[in-house]
Every structure is written in C-alpha cells, then in structure tokens.
Amino acid sequence: MSSSDLLDDFVSLSAALTGFSVAQLQGTGMASTYYAELVAIVGDDLTVALVREGCLTLRWPDDVEEQLRLRVMEDPDLGPLARNLVMLWYTGGWVQLPAEWRDRNGASSLDADRLLSATSWTEGLMWPAIGAHPTGAKAPGFASWVGPPVLGDPS
C-alpha cells in the first residue's frame, strides 16, 4: 500500500471517527502531521493496523458505526489508539495512553499529555463542532457574536 494511499485511508478513517467529512479534515492541513505523530508515538505497525482495520469497516457504509465499534473501538489495542486519534483531531492534543495499554505495547517518551502546537490548537475540530472558532485564532470579526450560534455542517 503506497504511503499516499495510506494517508488517504487514514483521513477516511479519521472522518468516520470524528463525524467530519474528508474534505473538512483535509482543509485543516493537519492530516499528514497527525499521521506522522501516531507513527512516532506507537510505531508503524500499530498505525497501519489501525488504518487497515478501520478502513475495512468503511466497506459497510450502512453499518460503519457498528463495525467500527466491533472491530476498532472495543479492540484492546486499537480502541485506545482510535480514541486518542479522535481527541487529537478534536483538541490538537495527545492524551497519554492507559497504563495497561503501555504495559502490553510499550511506552514511548512521546506518549505524554501535551498540546502538539499552536497550529494543532487552531485546527482543532471541537471549535467548528460547537459553532465557534479556536480561542485566540480565526477570529470571526466585529459583531459576529451577536447572532444565534450556527451549528451543524456549514456545507
């Protein structure tokens, strides 16, 4: 599997996990950064396993959520990884993996609670999720706070 295919699959899986579209995730510009981060923290094998297993579920478009739950979220190794990936997309930050996971799979010094960067904060999905903007960035302009919140998918 070529690395660009892998990256595409990573984004497709991330879209299913986050509830945002592939285009919206690409629009953050963070996809390759997050992929690289995952590889740096847990290694190639686990990352590829997550992407492969996750993308298998996309073959059942009517049943993706259930399949994801069975094949990924409830898997003792892939589940914590997937949840961390969701947090990464939403908050721009990494949360240290659970102790039992680290016992089984190893502990990296990069596996620590941290905010990746100013950019990951700015591109966090939690802000568009709540109909707002990242605090300290992407200011919406004078008097933009006057109207009712705009929630839901703008496109």
């Binding site: 285009a23 919206q24 690409q26 629009g27 950019t119 302009g141 004078f142 933009s144 496109s155």
Partner: protein, 341 residues
C-alpha cells in the same frame, strides 16, 4: 458640449459610468484576495500586509464610488449576476491586454497587480465611454460632474456611508458626498491611492498628521523588486530602502482560476466550494443593502469577510486533480437561497 444640469440622458450616462467604476473597483479584489489567502500563515508578513492594505483601500474605493453614485441620484447595484466577472477576465481597459485571474501568490500574480495599478500616461484623454484606462474613466466622470452643475446632486444624504460605520482597518474615512467639492474629493482619494499623486510614489495625505502612504502601484513594486521605498525615492527609479524578504514557496498550491464546475459533482470539496460562494454572495447582498439606504449593513459585512478567508484557506489545502495543486475560492456569483418556509 451641451450644458444642462437636467439632461436626463447625460445624467444617466454619468450614473452608468459610476456603476461601471463600482464594478471595476470590485473586479480586482478577488484576485488580490486569492493571492493574500494563499500566503501561509505567519510567512511573508510584509507582502501579505501590502496586499491586505490594497484590498482595504479598494473596498474604500467601492464605498466612495457608491457615495458619489448615490449623491447624483443613482442606485448602486452589487448583487446581480453581471457584477462579478468570470475569472480569468479581461479588464475593460489597457486595450484588452490585461487579463486578471484568480492565482496564488507568485511573481506572475504580482506582475498582474502591477499592470492593474500602473499609473496612466499624463496625456490620456478623460473619457466616460470608450476609455482605455481607469484613470481616463475617473477623469471623464470628474469632467461631467463639473459640467453638469450643482443640481445633479439629487441624492438623499441618508444613503451616504460616512465615517465610523465603515470600518476597514485602513487609514482615512469615506467622504460623505453632497456636492461637487466632496464628490471631487472622493474621486481624488481613489485616483491618488491607486496611481499616486502627480507621478510621485505617494498618495497625498488627506488629513493632517496622517502617515504618508505609497500608491498601490509602488507598494506592489516593492514585492516584485524585493526592496522597500524610502519616502524620498522617486517614481522612475528603483526603491532604495531595506530588503523586503519574500518566500515564494511558503504559499498554498492553489490551482489557477478555480471553478466549481471543475470539481466532481456530489463531492465534498465541491460542496465546500459552493459554500464559499454562498458566503461571498451574502457579502455582496450585504454591500448592496449598505449602498442602498442601509449603511449600517456594513457592520454585518465584516464577519462575512472574515469567514471568506477561513473558507478559502481550507479549500486551498484540499488536493484536487493529480498535478499537486489544490482547490480554491472561485468567487462565482450565487443567487440568494430561497426564503426559508
């Protein structure tokens, strides 16, 4: 030339010329914005500031033209299909040679901007129709205003956009136009900010204590050449000021002249592109209302302008096609959505 302040045909041609000027002032803004938005955040700070400052002044020019048009009893029209050109477009001056498209920040884009803003030769004739340069158009408008006399100013004062309401983060306030003097002042600001005063590199300061600013042409020249002008520099010599660093690689790889039709039907990126155009359409409708009796609508325009940027940058990060280029804002006019039931 016949005199006659009440000559309706002549006044009509004047209003048409002003409406055309309004369109021209707007037509380059999407081109400037594409270049501006494509600059990677935090890089090329000086070049970005230059482009942004020119955009802000072009928007001021739109307001000034609308004020003059309103003052002579016209009705500026911004929210119709013909208002927005299809890019790439030939600007109706410079003998049709000047093609303006939507391109990312690049040496070619900056060359186009220079061509747009190039000062006109001193001997060009003022013309309201059949002009070759925008300078001729404004000179023609100015002559007509002088000739038609004070009775041409029939517009209602409450349609004027005045200081305080129009906020654009630039210097100078819009001129409230009510008579010949104020109309000429408004037009003078436009011409001097674009081309410069009397073939110098500067705009004339219009208010005491206002910082002396370079005309648009010379601001862009700094980017092209890579050096800043000093106040004492002259128009026909290169700038002698400090280096202006430009990183041409720190630019999002937006494809040239993006269009919705190029994007796969039903695709997410197409939906995002259409969403951009909807925001843009809302902005134009907002401006239309502001120029037609509701000047406070300009306050509502501000958040829309901010949204345009974020939507544009997101598009510029999405690959489309196999050439390594990305999508981008197409600035295509969209009719308003049907009223919600």
């Amino acid at each position: 030339m016949s005199r006659g302040p009440g000559d309706p045909e002549r006044v009509g041609r004047l209003r048409d010329a002003l409406q055309h000027a309004l369109m021209l002032e707007h037509a380059t803004i999407p081109a400037y914005l594409c270049a501006l938005y494509s600059i990677e955040d935090g890089t090329n700070v000086e070049a970005a500031e230059i482009i942004r400052s020119v955009v802000m002044e072009e928007m001021l020019h739109m307001v000034l033209v609308a004020n003059v048009l309103n003052a002579v009893g016209g009705e500026p029209s911004v929210d119709h299909a013909g208002f927005v050109p299809r890019y790439p477009t030939q600007l109706p001056y410079s003998d049709g040679r000047l093609v303006v498209g939507l391109r990312r920040f690049s040496p070619e884009a900056v060359e186009t901007f220079l061509a747009i803003e190039r000062p006109e030769p001193a001997d060009a004739r003022p013309l309201v129709e059949g002009y070759d340069t925008i300078g001729q158009l404004y000179a023609g408008i100015e002559l007509e205003l002088r000739d038609l006399g004070p009775d041409v100013f029939t517009g209602r004062l409450d349609r004027q956009v005045g200081p305080g309401r129009f906020y654009y983060g630039g210097e100078g306030d819009p001129v409230v136009v009510r008579d010949l003097d104020s109309a000429l002042e408004a037009l003078e600001v436009i011409v001097e900010q674009g081309e410069g005063l009397d073939h110098t590199i500067h705009e004339a300061p219009h208010r005491v204590g206002r910082r002396d600013e370079l005309a648009h042409y010379f601001r862009f020249r700094q980017i092209a050449i890579g050096y800043r002008y000093r106040d004492s520099d002259v128009a026909n010599a290169p700038p002698t000021g400090p280096r202006l660093e430009v990183d041409w690689d720190a630019v999002l790889p937006m494809r040239d002249h993006p269009a919705v039709a190029e994007l796969p039907p039903g695709s997410e990126v197409r939906a995002l592109s259409q969403a951009f155009n909807r925001t843009y359409g809302e902005l134009l409708r907002c401006l239309h209302r502001a120029f037609n009796g509701q000047p406070d609508e300009l306050i509502a325009a501000v958040p829309l302008m901010y949204q345009l940027r974020y939507q544009a940058v997101a598009l510029m990060r999405i690959s489309c096609g196999s050439d390594g280029r990305t999508a981008g804002p197409s600035f295509e006019w969209t009719p308003p959505p049907p009223a919600a039931s």
